[in-house]
């Protein structure tokens, strides 16, 4: 190979190498960090006996990080509504689908009412009025060995 040809190839290779390195670094830099697809993790909520026979029951929970078996990095406390419509038992998240306020159950009206913008849901979680775009989120609920487990996305 003539020297000129060799040097031409060398320079070409150098440019290709540089371009590839820059392309890889750029893509890696632009790729977002902290991507974690959230899956349901089941927590022992309460005894089977505590399930409502009919209607809505508010359950306050507190899951301790040190008793969660490494599922939690810190204590998790909150509210979940267990609904029994005589056909099915399911769990409703109290997070309003409008802007994320916590709805409360109004026993007299038999509705979930959001204190922030007056969003209203019936006991199935379906929107009755106000700004919410979607029904309340249903959380998966299972009963095993007499204990009630509810899945949370953490």
């Amino acid at each position: 190979m003539v020297r000129r040809e060799f040097i031409k190839k060398l320079i070409k290779g150098f440019f290709i190498l540089t371009t590839s390195v820059v392309a890889i670094i750029t893509t890696w830099f632009l790729y977002p960090t902290g991507i974690r697809l959230k899956k349901y993790t089941f927590f022992d909520l309460m005894d089977e006996e505590a399930l409502p026979i009919k209607g809505v029951r508010r359950v306050d929970y507190l899951f301790k990080a040190d008793q969660s078996g490494a599922k939690l990095s810190r204590d998790m406390a909150g509210v979940v509504y267990i609904v029994n419509n005589t056909k099915k038992i399911f769990a409703l998240s109290p997070v309003c689908t409008h802007l994320g306020c916590l709805v409360t159950y109004n026993r007299h009206k038999n509705e979930f009412i959001c204190p922030c913008h007056g969003g209203r849901y019936d006991t199935e979680g379906v929107v009755l009025g106000g700004p919410p775009p979607e029904p309340l989120t249903r959380l998966p609920l299972t009963v095993e060995n007499g204990r009630v487990f509810v899945g949370f996305k953490i």
């Binding site: 820059v22 670094i25 750029t26 890696w28 830099f29 632009l30 790729y31 960090t33 902290g34």
Partner: protein, 216 residues
């Protein structure tokens, strides 16, 4: 690669009129490594351009989020610390290279007629480089950046008669605040790079037209 370019060039016809420039022999005898300083400065400029484009993907030019976005770039973004370091060091080196390039031009009398306009363009580029450095220094929005800019902008106040108004103009208000940050950000990422790119194009165009002066 060549085939793809030829396919495009069949329509565009850029190769033929530029052949004189692309295949010219501009390098006279008597060159040495000091004639690379301008090229080194331009390489720094390209590095600044590329890393700056990348950093602008994560930087938030707002009073409340600027500093935390810098922290995020440093700690969370993949290779963020690296890209930011390259930007910072290139910014330091471009000043060093431009100044030594200026010295080389001065020593080899390359500023003399007929290349005096290129000296003027080069001097303007240096001023824009200084201005970019000054505006870029504020963007991290930490204590050092804030007070450096506080001192730097208040120097404008020493101009007789209109000094006060110059300070207000630079700061975008009486005090240094979010308005100043946005102003400096816009200057740093839009106005100055645009102006510098045009100036550098003129700089190189004149070298192509007039050649390199060796006079040592």
């Amino acid at each position: 690669m060549g085939k793809v370019f030829d396919w495009i060039d069949n329509v565009f016809h850029v190769k033929k009129p530029h052949r004189r420039f692309l295949k010219r022999a501009i390098l006279p005898d008597g060159l040495n490594y000091f004639y690379c300083l301008g090229g080194a400065a331009f390489t720094s400029y390209l590095l600044l351009l590329v890393t700056g484009l990348l950093l602008s993907m994560y930087y938030v030019p707002s009073e409340h989020e600027a500093f935390s976005s810098i922290v995020k770039i440093q700690r969370e973004v993949h290779l963020g610390w690296f890209i930011r370091s390259v930007h910072k060091w290139s910014a330091t080196f471009i000043i060093v290279f431009i100044l030594s390039h200026t010295l080389r031009v001065f020593i080899s009398k390359a500023y003399s007629k007929p290349k005096e306009l290129n000296w003027v363009i080069g001097a303007l580029t240096l001023l824009f480089a200084f201005a970019s450095g000054f505006t870029g220094y504020l963007l991290p929005w930490d204590q050092k950046a804030y007070w450096a800019t506080e001192v730097g902008t208040s120097m404008g106040g020493t101009v007789p008669l209109i000094g006060k108004h110059i300070v207000y103009l630079i700061r975008g208000g009486v005090d240094l605040n979010g308005a100043t940050l946005i102003r400096f950000y816009s200057m740093h990422v839009l106005w100055f790079p645009l102006c510098m790119s045009l100036l550098l194009w003129a700089h190189f165009h004149m070298i192509k037209r007039q050649g390199i002066k060796v006079n040592l």
